[in-house]
Amino acid sequence: MNLVITPTMIGQVVISGLLAGSLYALVALGLGLIFGIMRVLNVAHGPILMLGAYTTYWLFSTVELDPYLSLLVSMPLMFVLGVLLQKLFVRHVVDAPGLSSLLLTFGVAIAIVNIAQLAFTSNLRSVESLTGSFALGPFAFSKARVVACGFAVGITAAAFLFLQKTRLGKAMRAVSQNREIAQVCGINVQRIHMLAFGIASALAAAGGSLVAVMVAIQPGMGQVYTVKSFVVIVLGGVGHYPGALVGGLLLGLVEQLSSLFLTTQVNEAVAYIVLVLVLLLRPTGLFPGRSQ
């Protein structure tokens, strides 16, 4: 525990928080997309991130592919998996009472984790590619985190441009706003749902590939990200996509700030306390969206 807190330390913590937060925002945007469009909370989002991380590890350890290039493999791969999940399973419970879709994706999540255990064992894996850090004045930036942040910002920006500018993106937002009316306007809702699930899973995979360089990879690593992404969505306001960005950065900051006073071991508990506090004090999120 640190007893003396200097301005440099606070600066360092803010920087680390923003770097971590950009990744949270990237992953949470995917979860929020599915939730906004289908009202389905995909509990398997974190495990899909884990699969993305393993893809990167596997390509790195077999053909020594650069972890950042492996994004080009992990994202399309998980896109396909997401589309399949939607087509085979989730499609049947989109309009069922809330319980069904939660239980279904939960079942999928634990099955994925078990398959990963069988395929990759539970040993901790790591991708040692970009180590060391940049120094700038009194601050140090981990290289891996800076690069990851750059990619996260780039991919998130691309996703936003897609949602804002393209016809397909507009169709997705239309379905998110009102499914019946979107259908009447000639939008193929089933196709949009599959696409949304695919894009969301690709975003999770991107998050997984980027964290693969920084943290230990193991089959159980994903579940935390489901919870954290949900915290981010709640912070930003459900159905309010730009809110996810602010929510992600905020969560990163709060976690890092709390590490000044507590050990990083309690990080998970911090995210959880943030969730409970937001639900208690401001259940509509910091930036209330249109819906709920």
Partner: protein, 306 residues
């Protein structure tokens, strides 16, 4: 309930009560675990089956009860029976604190909050080493109490099942089921939905709390990983889904079926456990969302009190 059913139930209970007189140590332990699973599954059914609010972290109450009981026995020298009851109380208290913010909202907030709660508690249990022993765990004084724990565990299983029966046949139960079917309509009919959800949730935490305490006493040793495993929550959910969520006897049936299979067959394929559970969960949701008893009830027009 028909007279024949009641008579059969009475005979079964008497037989179970006499069982320890003839049982081997192994047999007693197996039955004790079955009772534990019935109590856990039935408690999950109480909140998730009746109100439709799915709890992904019910093992948190089990762990809370285990730690309360363990700490009371080790640090304060309490008798284990009383300490386990205290475990039920602290679990209920925790449910109240968590349910207050998380049940006010409709939708998945509650489910995901419960998923996080378990992780958060496990981390906190490791963090507060002075009280919980941290990662080293907490060793309870040795004591052979399999017999009394058998009766206590069985008592909890019977009590929780009786409680669910009582609820399902009462106005309180009707309110909960109205919330499950259509919460907005329930509100429009003047049901204070938040209050009844919270009551159901707090009640559903008591059983796992006591059972967690009894289990801690039975094992004699607790550590964060052993009392907060997510697989326990998964097992509870699968048991209820198989038996029939929202029914009275579904969780008992599901727990008995799954536990027997687990002991006889699946214990040989331990590495496939979660994959099987995941597959069962997906299959039940898609093919038989009401479970075995629910499907039978619908088909043969059986009463709600099965």
């Amino acid at each position: 309930m028909t007279r024949g059913f009641l008579a059969g139930l009475g005979v079964l209970l008497v037989a179970l009560a006499l069982y320890p007189a003839v049982a081997t140590g192994y047999g007693l332990r197996v039955m004790l675990q079955l009772f534990m699973w019935i109590a856990l599954a039935q408690s999950w059914n109480l909140i998730s089956g009746l109100t439709g609010y799915v709890s992904f972290g019910h093992v948190a109450f089990f762990g809370m009860g285990a730690y309360t009981t363990g700490i009371l026995i080790v640090k304060l020298g309490w008798v284990w029976g009383v300490a386990a009851l205290a475990g039920g109380l602290t679990a209920a208290g925790l449910a109240f604190v968590i349910g207050w913010p998380c049940l006010r909202l409709k939708g998945p907030y509650f489910a995901i909050s419960m998923l996080g709660l378990n992780e958060a508690l496990r981390v906190l249990a490791s963090y507060f080493e002075g009280l919980t022993g941290g990662g080293y765990g907490l060793s309870l004084p040795t004591l052979d109490a399999s017999g009394p724990i058998y009766y206590a565990m069985g008592g909890v299983a019977v009590a929780v099942t009786a409680l669910v029966h009582l609820i399902v046949t009462s106005r309180f139960g009707l309110r909960l089921m109205t919330i499950r079917e259509d919460e907005v309509a329930a509100e429009a009919m003047g049901i204070a939905t938040f209050r009844y959800k919270l009551y159901a949730f707090v009640l559903s935490a008591v059983g796992p709390g006591i059972v967690g305490g009894l289990s801690a006493r039975d094992h004699g040793y607790i550590e964060p990983i052993s009392v907060f495993p997510i697989v326990t929550t998964i097992t509870m959910i699968v048991m209820v889904l198989v038996g029939g969520k929202g029914t009275i006897w579904g969780p008992v049936l599901g727990a008995t079926l799954l536990f027997s299979f687990q002991e006889l067959v699946w214990s040989h394929f331990i590495s496939l456990h979660q994959l099987l559970f995941g597959a069962i969960m997906v299959a039940m949701v898609l093919a038989m969302p009401r479970g075995i008893l629910g499907a039978l009830r619908q088909r043969y027009g059986l009463p709600r009190t099965i």
